[in-house]
Symmetry: C2
Subunit: 191 residues, 2 copies
Amino acid sequence: MSDHAPIEVDLAKSYRLLNHGPTVLVSSAHGGRQNVMAAAWSMPLDFAPPKMLVIIDKSTLTRELIEASGEFVLNVPSRALAQATLAAGSSSGRDGDKFSTTGLKHFPATKVGAPLVEGCLAWLECKVIPEPHNQQTFDMFIGEVVAAHADPRVFQDGHWQFDDEPLNRSIHYIAGGTFFATGEAFEVQKK
Amino acid sequence: MSDHAPIEVDLAKSYRLLNHGPTVLVSSAHGGRQNVMAAAWSMPLDFAPPKMLVIIDKSTLTRELIEASGEFVLNVPSRALAQATLAAGSSSGRDGDKFSTTGLKHFPATKVGAPLVEGCLAWLECKVIPEPHNQQTFDMFIGEVVAAHADPRVFQDGHWQFDDEPLNRSIHYIAGGTFFATGEAFEVQKK
């Protein structure tokens, strides 16, 4: 774990960790195996109880581990982890432990067996809500958030508060190796 | 329409218009009525044929129009439209035509009856894939993209190419009146 011990995020505010559409790392574990993959297609689905949605292709080891364990973690990587995120999205856990091949490290979650990825900005521990039709037809997994955490340098009191360090921003994948960083915050007043 | 006539986007690349998780405006029309609302919870679901997913609350007029017409458009607003986006997300079309109350203008789509919102950066015309369980249980609508367009100032040859004008960036809603702009683009090389 880094020097910046994660703080707990109120479940009612946990949707805010994904509301801006960052790319996530999906971590999973079952039966002594674990894995991490990248997913651009992930978002909140409900506020209370908080639910998240993520698309997980049938070919992946992550899919196998999530289906077996009924759990996953959505980790919000920083720009400092963009290279590792691309690597986690471009290789298969079937070809070797992706924590080894990407250099990503992990630490234990609080409510699920899947690990939390070190150096991320936020973490959402999820338990799968079984949806056989969605899983089979759309590769769609719905999880209820059972615990949420954030790096207090960037998320405090229910709000993202990015500092001036560009590498501490969340990231948004497009295609190839192209990402956008999360940009400037701005406020709009209701008229 | 602005001076910057939309260009057609190859359907195979249309997922890139939403892959970075921007907040969208959802436009709809049926039986002489039309509406526009904001949605932070929207994302690509599949590449080919391209499918998009959006969460539409049961209480909304948009829901009624989409269920009646089987069509909707996901419009990607620029920061210049952030105030109107917040307004479209904070009021109901049942209380009056939101194109009037928000000042948003529109022009015709090519393949669906729902209008395109003027001044947006990109537009995805969608036909609903009926999913009664997802619609009822999760307020989730899945649409196949039947036409896609973009402002050539910001999206060309299948790639976002934002200029230096901050108001031409896409936006990412968090809560209250807080948004992030889409930030700096960066490239990561596969190792």
